[in-house]
């Protein structure tokens, strides 16, 4: 008993310290016509842990550098303007919070990565509820960890891939938390390289010139309930393992080289409850292995999936395939993946024992999709009498289509979600 009361003592002391510490922090007010007209000046005067409140106004201070743990709070979106020459806000300290600013007109450069807000080698930085307009890179982190980027709106005016940069760009970072941002008009909406153990949730990435989401060498990240809409080439993810994607929506990614989701060299990953709507290709898989693609919806895509012969040991189970022009396309006869228990709206089999599972296997690859894969110009004959004859005869006696690519237990009814 005695030892416990001793601990209580310590605990009370610790609590008192924790409660009184913030009270010592000072608040600095910056306003265009006040005593302190410059944000940088306030940062230099402040001591770690202070709050800097910035009133509404336009601040053109070249690059504002934050070198100590501070809380920067903007009232009514004060404008930090980079005059199209400078990086606007550089955070070079841990435990910095930036909230409520409008960051605009950063510099543009073809050899420097100039950003609206850039985090250098720091931990526990929070960037929340800011608006970024016409920036080159939007929010850029390098060697950062445990940072939170949430509720920001990023909008830029990218036209070509060469003259534009990414919305949220993370490089060599860990345990990032990117939630509820809206990104448009950049090159890639969200770009990761060497980013691990991060959570990307409820972001909306639309109308970017290249990809809505793009990551490489980023292992063990989790993507939940994001929406990727009408990006130049959809979403591309490459060279990563341990990726989890749940409840994301990929829709209307159009164009000759556009994909809902491009998986290249991805392994040991999981995709569940995602929706692919009206994409040219729902999922394009290349060199992908040990993926579990479960309970997703593929509706009204050109190809629901294109699985290249370089993929192996992927499991495609319990998905709905509805209204797709082609269900599955492939480029070879080697099949090392399992399709099982999916619902295919083109299935023409029967279910005599009424257990909800079709009695004959379904072959999702049609002869014509193989022909179109080899010779795209044949799309001219799409849905002609000739082609349906070919397809029908191929269904009865498979010759050119891969023999093993089949669903042994096709569902009779679509899964309800």
């Amino acid at each position: 008993m005695k030892s416990i009361s001793k601990y209580y003592h310590w605990l009370t002391c610790a609590l008192i310290v924790m409660i009184t510490l913030p009270a010592q922090a000072k608040t600095w007010r910056v306003s265009p016509k006040g005593k302190l007209p410059s944000v940088q000046q306030a940062i230099d005067l402040a001591s770690p842990g202070d709050t800097i409140v910035v009133e509404h106004g336009i601040y053109k201070e070249k690059t504002i550098t934050v070198t100590k743990p501070l809380y920067l709070l903007g009232i009514n979106y004060p404008v930090l303007d980079g005059e199209r020459k400078h990086e606007v806000l550089a955070i070079k300290s841990s435990r910095v919070t930036v909230e409520g600013f409008l960051v605009q007109h950063s510099g543009y450069s073809s050899y420097n990565d100039i950003a609206g807000i850039r985090v250098y080698n720091s931990r526990l930085v929070t960037i929340k509820n800011n608006k970024l307009f016409d920036t080159f890179f939007g929010i850029y982190t390098q060697h950062a960890a445990n940072c939170t980027i949430t509720g920001n709106e990023l909008q830029s005016k990218a036209v070509t891939e060469l003259n534009s940069a990414n919305g949220i760009h993370c490089w060599k970072s860990d345990s990032m938390h990117i939630v509820g941002n809206k990104i448009s008009g950049h090159r890639d909406g969200i770009y990761f390289e060497f980013v691990t153990n991060s959570l990307i949730e409820k972001n909306y990435s639309a109308g970017n010139v290249r990809y809505g989401l793009h990551f490489m060498f980023s292992h063990d990240d989790k993507y939940v309930e994001n929406e990727f809409f009408n990006n130049g080439a959809g979403v591309a993810v490459m060279f990563s393992r341990g990726v989890t994607m749940i409840g994301n929506t990929f829709r209307e990614n159009w164009g000759g080289a556009a994909y809902g989701l491009l998986l290249k060299e991805i392994s040991d990953s999981r995709m569940e409850h995602n929706r692919f709507l009206k994409n040219t290709v729902g999922i394009f898989m290349e060199g992908t292995s040990r993926m579990k693609i479960v309970s997703n919806d593929f509706d009204n895509n050109g190809w629901a999936m294109r699985v290249q012969a370089s993929c192996s040991e992927n499991e495609i189970v319990g998905n709905n395939f509805r209204g797709n022009t082609f269900d599955v396309g492939t480029n070879g006869s080697l099949v090392l993946n399992t399709f099982n228990g999916n619902y295919w709206d083109k299935y023409e089999g029967y279910d005599l024992d009424r257990n909800g599972t079709g009695d004959v296997p379904y072959r999702p690859v049609s002869l014509y999709s193989m022909i179109a894969e080899r010779n795209p110009a044949t799309m001219m004959l799409f849905r002609s009498f000739m082609v349906s004859l070919l397809d029908k005869s191929e269904k009865i006696i498979p010759g050119a289509t891969p023999e093993n690519l089949k669903d042994e237990r096709p569902q009779m009814r679509p899964f309800k979600r």
Partner: protein, 255 residues
């Protein structure tokens, strides 16, 4: 001329085959839209009807009609009527009654179930294909006096347009796979009204696959107003050319 058209139309409309054709189309269209909950799927099923059965019936019926009314035509030729206007009125009568049948059989269900651009395109293409194949039938019937041979030629022509042509295209595409054939494809599609009609309908319908990985060119061309006008002009040409040749032959023919 008006009197002859009126007579031809009345004669055809009284024909049981015509009534059967109308009912057949109507039953197919209604059941297709009734069975499929999704109208766009129904349109796809109807697409095959429009592209296969409509040309077949149009060409065969027109050919048989021309041969069967050989005596009637001879009688009229002996009257003070220009051969050209006689032939044109037979064509007009045939085409308008077949179009009426198609409109009642397919057009009305289309307008009820899919009253959008897809439905209208399909209706327009169906009507155009009906008229085109009537014109082709008239030309075919000018080649020979023998009824059996004439019907044979018609069936062959139908076979060519719906199947053989596509087979040849597929063959050519694989023979010349290493060359850029996209532009040539548009020219190829002009050579067959059935293909042209199908592509125009599909562009309204199945855009995803067509524009996607491959034939963005098709969409660029036919999707633009200019391309659409060119396509319609080509369709018109497919009516005018066979008709013009058949009129020329009929005018000089020794009946």
């Amino acid at each position: 001329m008006k009197k002859i058209i009126k007579y031809v139309i009345l004669d055809i409309l009284r024909n049981r085959i015509m009534i059967g054709y109308t009912l057949f189309l109507l039953i197919i269209a209604l059941s297709v839209f009734g069975l499929e909950g999704n109208p766009s799927k129904g349109v796809l099923s109807l697409l095959n009807v429009v592209l296969i059965i409509v040309p077949l019936i149009s060409i065969i019926f027109s050919t048989i009609y021309v041969y069967n009314s050989a005596e009637f035509i001879e009688l009229l030729v002996s009257q003070p009527i220009k051969r050209r206007s006689l032939w044109m009125s037979i064509f007009t009568g045939l085409a308008s009654s077949l179009c009426t049948a198609f409109f009642i059989g397919c057009g009305i269900p289309l307008l009820i179930y899919v009253p959008d651009a897809t439905g209208f395109t399909m209706l327009g293409m169906g009507l155009l294909i009906t008229v085109i194949f009537t014109a082709i039938a008239l030309l075919a019937s000018m080649f020979t006096r023998d009824k059996a041979k004439g019907i044979g030629i018609s069936i062959l022509l139908w076979f060519y347009f719906t199947l053989i042509f596509d087979g040849i295209i597929l063959f050519l595409l694989f023979q010349f796979m290493d060359y850029p054939l996209e532009k040539a494809m548009i020219a190829f599609s002009f050579m067959n009204p059935v293909d042209l009609g199908r592509i125009l309908i599909l562009l309204k319908l199945d855009i995803s696959a067509l524009m996607g990985a491959t034939s963005a060119l098709f969409r660029d061309f036919f999707g633009s107003g200019q391309g659409m006008i060119i396509a319609l002009l080509i369709m018109a040409l497919w009516i005018i050319l066979p008709l013009w040749f058949s009129v020329r032959r009929f005018a000089q023919k020794d009946l």
